[in-house]
């Protein structure tokens, strides 16, 4: 009771871990990149926070900020959900893209925002992902995408399903240009996003404990004979099953990305030194 009172009194100062429920001092929590020092839980980040945490200071330039979703099917409650999503995420859509540098290397970067309608992929997300890869080809830059999505956006119906194909096509062109694409699966990376551009990266990293999977847990369990394993659809489960390269704690993400970029530099820096 006393603890709860503290939380309410100093909402700005204290924060509760979403997993272990311990109360954390916010400045410490922020310094730890929102990773709980007690249980290691990696709390979700806003798209903009994620990018600013990753790239070199003052290098991020947002692109395609002028794209806005519409309601092409007149889908129930969609217009309202878009408004709420925008105010919750502080962004106009479920993905933020732009140009930046990472350890001095010019990159195209994108980060999805689960706060905006569960990071779902509709027309704008699809278009921004495609433009990111097209821009990568044009500028001969690596592309780094932080995924966070429940899947395709139901409210744009079949148009959303087509974004799976559209983004995949863009990855195909990008690969043909011989450039590196690194995906990072953050909590959660699911369904239509996992089953399209996310899974097609040259190297796939994930944050510890991130939910990563195809179908909802209930659907998966119903469709199976046995009980799903305890770590089903976690980053660690996917890692065990060879579907991603490394589970990387948040504090190591930047150096790991930087190392990978360095290893692949012949492809984008033009100096082939085998």
């Amino acid at each position: 009771m006393q603890k709860r009172a503290i939380v309410q009194a100093n909402a700005e100062q204290w924060v509760q871990c979403a997993r272990c429920k311990k109360i954390l001092f916010r400045p410490d929590f922020e310094r730890a990149l929102r990773v709980c020092p007690h249980c290691g839980h990696h709390h979700r980040l806003r798209a903009r926070e994620r990018i600013l945490l990753t790239v070199d200071p003052d290098t991020f330039e947002e692109t395609d900020a002028d794209l806005r979703p519409t309601d092409p099917l007149g889908f129930p409650e969609y217009a309202d959900k878009l408004r709420k999503g925008a105010s919750a995420a502080g962004e106009n859509e479920a993905i933020l893209t732009g140009l930046a540098q990472l350890n001095g290397v010019p990159i195209v970067i994108g980060a999805m925002d689960f706060g905006f309608m569960g990071g779902s992929m509709g027309s704008v997300v699809g278009e921004k992902v495609v433009r990111a890869f097209e821009r990568g080809v044009e500028l001969r830059c690596p592309v780094i995408l932080f995924c966070a999505s429940g899947g395709a956006r139901m409210q744009e119906g079949l148009i959303s399903l087509m974004q799976m194909a559209k983004t995949t096509a863009a990855v195909g062109r990008f690969h043909r240009a011989g450039l590196p694409y690194i995906a990072v699966f953050t909590d959660p990376t699911m369904a239509g996003v996992l089953a399209s551009f996310a899974s097609l990266a040259d190297v796939i990293l994930a944050e510890p404990g991130a939910l990563v999977g195809f179908a909802g847990q209930r659907v998966a369990a119903q469709a199976s004979v046995g009980k799903p394993p305890a770590n089903f659809q976690t980053a660690e489960f996917q890692h065990e099953h060879g579907m991603l390269d490394l589970v990387v704690p948040r504090r190591n993400m930047r150096p790991t990305l930087s190392y990978l970029l360095e290893m692949f530099q012949a492809s984008y820096a033009g100096s082939i030194t085998p």
């Binding site: 099917l73 119906g157 399903l161 559209k166 239509g192 996310a198």
Partner: protein
């Protein structure tokens, strides 16, 4: 609520009566042609009446109709010859996906289709046409074969969804779907997809990243099953019919949205009332598309496919 199945009973009764009369006339050598013609006219009126006002949910039921022809039925009815090939060369052969080499209208095709089962045993064996990762990996092997030997690819889509089970998850169902699309996009041979029945979300688009996408008149194509949508939207899976309306999952909507290229008409009363005619229509439509695509260079085919999907999406640009 009245569904397409409620109407099938009187039609089936009429059809039985017509068949009986014909047999009687043949056996006894009597002329019952007037009565027969009258009953047939009645049947046709009834069918026209029903099929003039199908709602999206009726289409869902038609697309899932247990007598609807399946991929192998079409292959048998459309092709001069077909040899099925098997296996993903990685340890599995998924019966939910059939694939092989066919001749159709003198052309050499690679056909990859999702296959439902007709009886309970086959339905289970085919996993209700819900492909596992190995189904898509078999498909990819066939796509690469097509590329190597310059064969045209025809995919036949009919699946409620990709298999969502634990085993499929553990073997990378998402990766398999993504790679299947990617493999199709990289091909430089003509590719055509036909949505035969259920075009179920990721499970369907995995095989439909093609130069042309055709849909049978009463097929559906949807980002989510209407039941799933209803559970989210109305917190009530029984409101699937309303969800079907909202999702715009009919061939008509898909064409209006510019997401498919053509609707292949079905015979009055839907494909299952006349599989032969339906298959002929599919064959004609596919061959027509292939005539168009045949004029394109390998690079142009890949480029057309890219631009086809690149253009999909509805958004605004502000400022």
């Amino acid at each position: 609520m009245m569904t397409i199945f409620d109407f099938e009973k009187p039609i089936n009764e009429l059809e039985s009566a017509i068949a009986e009369l014909r047999q009687l006339a043949a056996e006894k050598g009597l002329d019952r042609s007037r009565e027969i013609a009258e009953l047939e006219a009645q049947r046709e009126r009834l069918l026209r009446q029903i099929f003039a006002h199908l709602r999206p949910w009726d289409k869902v039921l038609l697309a899932r109709h247990p007598k609807r022809p399946y991929a192998l039925d079409y292959i048998r009815l459309m092709c001069e010859s077909f040899v099925e090939l098997h296996g993903d060369r990685l340890g599995y052969d998924d019966p939910a996906v059939v694939a092989g080499l066919a001749k159709m209208g003198g052309r050499n095709l690679v056909i990859v289709g999702q296959q439902k089962g007709r009886d309970l045993k086959e339905r289970q064996r085919r996993n209700f046409a819900m492909a596992k990762p190995e189904g898509y990996r078999k498909a990819m092997r066939m796509f690469r074969l097509a590329e190597k030997f310059r064969l045209t690819v025809l995919t036949l889509v009919d699946t409620p969804a990709a298999d969502p089970g634990v085993e499929s998850e553990s073997r990378g169902i998402s990766e398999a779907i993504a790679q299947s699309m990617l493999t199709l996009f990289e091909l430089t041979v003509p590719t055509v997809a036909v949505i035969l029945g259920e075009g179920g979300s990721g499970g369907a688009i995995a095989l439909a990243a093609t130069n042309r996408v055709l849909m049978l008149e009463h097929a559906i194509y949807s980002v989510i099953p209407p039941e799933g949508c209803a559970a989210i939207l109305y917190r009530d899976p029984n409101k699937a019919p309303q969800a079907a309306d909202a999702l715009k999952l009919t061939a008509e909507s898909a064409l209006a949205l510019g997401l498919i290229d053509m609707i292949i008409p079905e015979p009055l009363g839907a494909a299952h009332r006349d599989p032969q005619t339906t298959a002929l229509s599919v064959r004609t439509a596919v061959l027509q598309q292939l005539d168009e695509l045949g004029a394109m260079s390998p690079d142009a085919l890949r480029e057309q496919r890219y631009q086809r999907f690149r253009a999909m999406g509805v958004f605004e640009t502000v400022g």
